[in-house]
C-alpha cells in the first residue's frame, strides 16, 4: 500500500490485530484443550463457534435478553452442544483408528454447518447493536469501546480458563488425563467426565468468541465457522498444541499478522498468511512456539 509506514498507522493496526487475535485465541483454546486430552483435531469446533454466535443472536433479538445475560446463556448452550457432540459422535470411536474420529469430526462439522444453512438461512445477518459505539482518538490511533470491551472480555475469559486448568481440582484431572488417560483412570479419575468437561469449556469459549465476532464485525453467517475455525486451529498449532498459553500466543500472532497483511500488503493474501506462518514455524519448531519436541526413545 502506498504511503509510508507512519507510526500511528502501525499502532492502529496493532490495536485492530489484537482485537481480532483475542477472538482467535478464544477459539484456539477449545482446539488445544480438546486436542490435548483426546488427541483429536475437532473440526466441528469452528461450527460450535458459529452456533454460539447464533445462540447469542437469537437470545438478544427474539427473547430480548440483555447482552450481559445472553453471553453466559450462549456459552452454556454451546457447552451442552459440545458435550452432546462428544457423547454421540466421538466417544464411540475412542478405540478406533484416530483417522476415523477425524473423519467423523469433519462429518459433524458438515452437519452443523448444513443444519445452520437450513434453519438459520444462508444470508449473513446483521448483529444487534448492543451499546452505542464510542470512539476515542489517542494521538492518531482510533480505539473504540467495542474493541476495549472485546479485549477485556477475552482476557478475562482466558484468565478464568487458566485458573481452571492450573488451579482447580478438575483442571488437575484434565492435565492428568491428557498426560496418560489409563493411568489417570487407575488413580480414580472419571476420564469420560473430564473429557466431557473439556469439551464443554472449549465450546463455551468458542461461543464467547462467536458473539464477540458478531459484536465487532456486525455480521454472522452459518458458514463463518470454517475459516475462523481453521485459522484458530492454526493458531493453536503455532503456539504449541495442547498448551493453554500457546493457544493465546498463537491467536494473537494470527490476528496481528492478518491485520498487518491486509493493511500493508494485500487483502487477497489475508488467508495465506496464517498458513505461511504455520509452515515456517513448524519447520523450525516442529512442536510449536511453546511446545517441547519429544524425542522418540529407541
Amino acid at each position: 500500500m502506498p504511503g509510508g509506514l507512519d507510526i500511528s498507522m502501525v499502532v492502529q493496526q496493532l490495536v485492530n490485530g489484537l482485537a481480532l487475535g483475542s477472538v482467535y485465541a478464544l477459539i484456539a483454546l477449545g482446539y488445544t484443550m480438546v486436542y490435548g486430552i483426546v488427541r483429536l483435531i475437532n473440526f466441528a469446533h469452528g461450527d460450535i463457534f458459529m452456533l454460539g454466535a447464533y445462540y447469542g443472536y437469537f437470545a438478544i433479538t427474539m427473547f430480548k435478553i440483555p447482552f450481559a445475560l445472553a453471553l453466559p446463556l450462549a456459552m452454556g448452550l454451546a457447552a451442552v452442544t459440545g458435550m452432546a457432540v462428544e457423547r454421540l459422535a466421538y466417544k464411540p470411536l475412542r478405540q478406533a483408528p484416530r483417522i476415523a474420529s477425524l473423519i467423523t469430526a469433519i462429518g459433524v462439522s458438515l452437519l452443523l454447518q448444513n443444519l445452520g444453512l437450513k434453519f438459520f438461512e444462508a444470508r449473513p445477518r446483521p448483529y444487534p447493536r448492543i451499546i452505542p459505539m464510542v470512539v476515542w482518538d489517542v494521538g492518531g490511533v482510533v480505539v473504540s469501546n467495542v474493541q476495549l470491551i472485546m479485549l477485556a472480555l477475552a482476557i478475562a475469559l482466558m484468565v478464568l480458563i487458566s485458573l481452571i486448568v492450573y488451579r482447580t481440582k478438575i483442571g488437575k484431572a484434565m492435565r492428568a488425563v491428557s498426560f496418560d488417560k489409563d493411568a489417570a483412570r487407575l488413580m480414580g479419575i472419571d476420564a469420560d467426565m473430564v473429557i466431557g468437561v473439556t469439551f464443554a469449556l472449549g465450546s463455551a469459549l468458542a461461543a464467547a468468541g462467536g458473539m464477540l465476532v458478531g459484536f465487532y464485525y456486525n455480521r454472522i453467517s452459518p458458514t463463518m465457522g470454517a475459516m475462523y475455525g481453521l485459522k484458530a486451529f492454526v493458531a493453536a498449532v503455532v503456539g504449541g498444541i495442547g498448551i493453554v498459553p500457546g493457544a493465546m500466543l498463537g491467536g494473537l500472532i494470527m490476528g496481528v499478522a492478518e491485520v498487518f497483511v491486509i493493511a500493508f500488503v494485500s487483502s487477497m493474501l489475508k488467508d495465506a498468511i496464517a498458513f505461511a506462518i504455520l509452515i515456517v514455524i513448524l519447520l523450525f519448531k516442529p512442536a510449536g512456539l511453546l511446545g517441547r519436541a519429544v524425542r522418540e526413545k529407541v
Binding site: 459422535a89 464411540p92 470454517a226 505461511a276 509452515i279
Partner: protein, 602 residues
Amino acid sequence: MVSEAKATVAKSIGTRATDGKQLTRGAVALGGLAAGYFLVVGLHRAGVLISDYYLQILIWVGINTIMGVSLNLINGFTGQFSLGHAGFMAIGAYVAAYMTKILGAPFAPALLVGGTAAALGGLVVGIPALRLAGDYLAIATLGFGEIIRVIILNLDVVGGPRGLPGIPAHTTFLWVYAMAAATVVIVRNLIWSRQGRALVAIREDETAAETMGVDTTRYKIMAFVVGAFFAGVAGGLYAHKITFIDPSQFDFMKSIEALVIIVLGGLGSITGTVLAAFVVTFLPEALRAFADYRMIIYSLMLILMMLYRPRGLMGTAEFGFRQLGLGDARSSARDVGGQAMGRNDGPPPVLETRGVCMDFGGLRAVSDFCMTLRQGELVGLIGPNGAGKTTVFNVLTGLSEATCGSVHFMGNDITRKRPSEINDMGIARTFQNIRLFSNLTVLDNVRIAFRGERPYSMTEAVLRAGRYSSQEEEICRKSMEFLRLFGLDDRASEIAGKLPYGAQRRLEMARALATGPKLLLLDEPAAGMNPQETHELLELIRWIHERFDLTVLLIEHDMNLVMKLCQRIIVLDYGNTIADDAPADIVKNRRVIDAYLGEEAV
C-alpha cells in the same frame, strides 16, 4: 470396473511366474480392462442400464478414483497424513487448462504437463514431511494446499478469483477410464515391489525402516511426488470436464473429499478406494431427491458409516492376494544354500570409536567412549541401567549423532551418516523393545530388509519388466531361506505382531541379518526369555556368528549368557568405560564388581 479389479488380481498372482506367464497375465489384465470399457460403452449405446446421466457420473467416479488411489499411496501406504491433495489437483487443473485453452495444446500433453507440475508441487510439499509427522504434517500439508489456492487466486493470467471459463470439454469417458485404470495398475504395481515394501515399512515403523537400510527421505518424497502427479492428472481431467474452474473449487473441502474416499474404502486398500469412489460419487446424486436436506443427510451418513465401520469398507483386505503369491514362492525356496551374506573381510579392525561422547541437554550419557572391534569378535557391552549402552548403539547406527568424537567402520568415517547409509555399509541392529513391522507378515518383514546388488528401478517395478521378476523371485527365495534358518518358515504368512515373544526376537534377528551386515548389534536379545529360551538363543547367536562370518556386539543383562558367549566384555558405568577385558578378568575386576556385578555374581 469390476473386471478391472479382477484384471489387477490376475496381474498380481505369484511372483515367480516365467516370462510366458507374465505375458499371459499382462494380456489378461489388458483384456479385462478393455472388456470393462466396452461393456460400459456398449450398455450406454444400447440404452440399457447406463443412461447419459449415469455415464456422466461414471466420469466423476473415475476422477474420484484417481484422487483416492493417489492419496492412498501417500496416506494409506506410506502413512504420511496429507490434507493438501486439492492443491495438487488445482495445479494440474490450471496448468492443463492453461495449455489447452490459451496455448492451444492437445489434451494428452496438457494432462502430462499438468501432472508433472503437480509432481513438482509434491516435491515441495514432501519436504516438511521429512521433519513432521502425524497431525502436524496434516496441518502443514493443509496449509500448503491453501497457499497454492491463494497463489492461484492472485494469478491474473488464469483469471484470479474470477476463474478460467471456456476450457475445451476434452474429457470423455474413455480418457477417464484409461487414466483411472492406469493409476490403479501403476500404484498397485508400485506397492507390490521393493519400493512399495519400503513405503509400507515407513508407515509401520520409521526408525526400524531406516536402520534396515530404507532411505526414508527418498521414499517419502517419492510417495508425495507420485501421488501428486496423479492428483494433477485428475485435476486436468476435472478441468476439461467441468470447463470452468475457479480457485474456490479446490478448497479444503476438496482435500477432505479425497480423504473421505480413502478412509471409507480402507487406508491401504486400493480395491476399497475404488469402491468408496463409487459410494462417495453416487451418494450425493442419489440424495438429490431430498433437495434441501441433501447435505444434512450426506453428513449424517458419513458420521454413521464411520461409527459403524471405523476401519473403512475394506480395511486393508486386499493384502490377502499377496499371501497368495507367497504360497507359490515358498515351494521353490529350497536350493539356495545359505551362503555367507557378508562379503569378504576387510582389515582386521572392523569398528573403531574414538572419544565418542553424547550429551542430552546437560546430561552426559556417554563420555570419551573408545572401542575397537576386530573382525569376527563377539563382544559384550554391559553396565547398570542408564550406563549409556543403548546410546552407544544409537550413535553407532546413526540414530543419534555423537556430540563429539568419531566412529569409523571398515576404514570409513560414519559419524555423520544416516542410519540407512550405515546399514548399507554393513551394520545392522535389533532393538531392546522389539521393533518389527508388526502389521506385516513375517515374510514381508524380512523382504523389506533385502537388497540386491543392482536393485530394479521404479520404472521396472511399475511395468513389471526387466529385472523385476527375477529379483523378486530371488528376494522371496532368500527370505524364505532366512526364515528357515531361524525356524520361522512355517510362519511366513503370519502377522509379525502376533508371533510369540521368542519368535519375534528371532524374526528381528533374521531381519537384521537379511540386510547382509558385517557387524551385528544386538540390544538385549535375551530380555524376557526363560532359561530354556536363553540357552537356545546362546546357541543361535554362536551359530550365526560363525555361519555369516560376523562381528557381533551385544548388550545384555543376563550375565550367564554374556560370560558364556563373549570373548571380550566392555563395561560402562555412568557413560564411562570402566573395564574392557576377557570375561575371566572382568569378574575379578574390583571396579566392575563395585559398580555392577555385586557380591553374588558368578
